[in-house]
Symmetry: C2
């Protein structure tokens, strides 16, 4: 269907133009933005909540929550006193730059150093969409199994950092960390991997310390 | 972007036309097809493998495996002696009817009563695509959390049956089964819910018995 191509190109370039505007706005405010991508239920919100706690008094965090529907996650973040805006995509399978642009207009940017943008739970569609973020993080979780990099390679290729969450469940599962790491490194040799448990708090500090560096606190 | 609409409509109707052909082909062979949808790592392949085992000698199963890349799942199914075809979508976020049509041409249909079509791991994009299946199943898993129906409502609305997998992990997680069931029933009052653990085998029989009925063995 060759008639489809020009339309797709037009949409992508419109998105990229607004992503560029978002990045300029964030840069002007000295904000580092982190696009958090994962399967549904990998623990994106838990990672964000634990990180807010770990960085308290060191970095001022803001959050954009992306979901098809509901404001469950935004309510959890708001309870911590962190500025948060919920985007409901209404069925859309990923966030796009215009959605983030409208959320940025509703956040107190002067009071934020580090902005988490929690994408829709999806290991495929968010891969190709620039939101204007500085860092792309993929959160995996032990119960999902060690074969996720093999099955969903694209998102692992574009990531700047990896979190492996729910390590506390490892004793009850057949997760082979060596297969996971080998598959991940075949796709992406450079991005750091942070293994953690949001339940116990184990491993959060190393991740928070890494965020302090690019966020320039 | 109104120019986009006619293109999308054209793609959808082409898909639906081929889905209809797939369904006629399957009906002519007396095959019941089950579209298995879930998040990445919910246990779609494990459910299929356990079901093959449970139905052995009662129903002849065939499998179409959908993944972005790799043939990890197809190899696991092939080890059981079950006819299987792997579709690699090459980055595509869901299966479509033409892909299933080409897979059907490579399966020994006369030797199959029940066909599992394992979709790409994704709780959003597979929702609107008819593959020619007779039954849509959504597999959730306990580690994903009880809020998935609230956050990804569309796919729970269209399902004909639900599996809740990895119940063996419940003691180690804060999964609230009551919230899950209430949210699910608000979206879909009719479709049966089968709670199971592919690790222990608990709950597989009730699911397998239910499949025996529509598959008409």
């Amino acid at each position: 269907m060759p008639t489809e191509v020009p339309v797709v190109e037009k949409i992508l370039s419109a998105n990229d133009r607004i992503a560029l505007e978002n990045r300029r706005l964030l840069d002007g405010q000295g904000i580092v933005a982190v696009n958090v991508m994962a399967s549904p239920g990998a623990g994106k919100t838990s990672v964000i909540l634990r990180t807010i706690e770990a960085l308290r008094g060191r970095l001022r965090v803001g959050v954009i929550e992306g979901d098809l529907a509901s404001r469950v996650d935004a309510d959890k973040v708001a309870e911590t006193g962190t500025p948060v805006v919920q985007i409901n995509t209404g069925g859309g399978c990923h966030l796009d730059a215009p959605q983030v642009q409208s959320a940025l207009a509703r956040l107190p940017l002067a009071e934020i150093d580090l902005l988490f943008i929690e994408n829709v739970g999806n290991l495929v569609c968010p891969t190709g969409w620039d939101l204007g973020e500085h860092v792309k993080v993929v959160v995996s979780s032990v119960p999902e199994g060690h074969d996720k990099p093999i099955k969903y390679p694209g998102i692992f290729v574009v990531a700047d950092a990896f979190v492996l969450n729910k390590t506390d469940l490892a004793p009850y599962l057949d997760f082979d960390a060596e297969i996971f790491r080998t598959a991940l490194r075949a796709l992406n040799a450079e991005a750091p991997l942070f293994e953690m448990s949001c339940k116990t708090g184990q491993g959060i500090e190393a991740w928070a310390d890494w965020l302090l560096a690019p966020a320039g606190a």
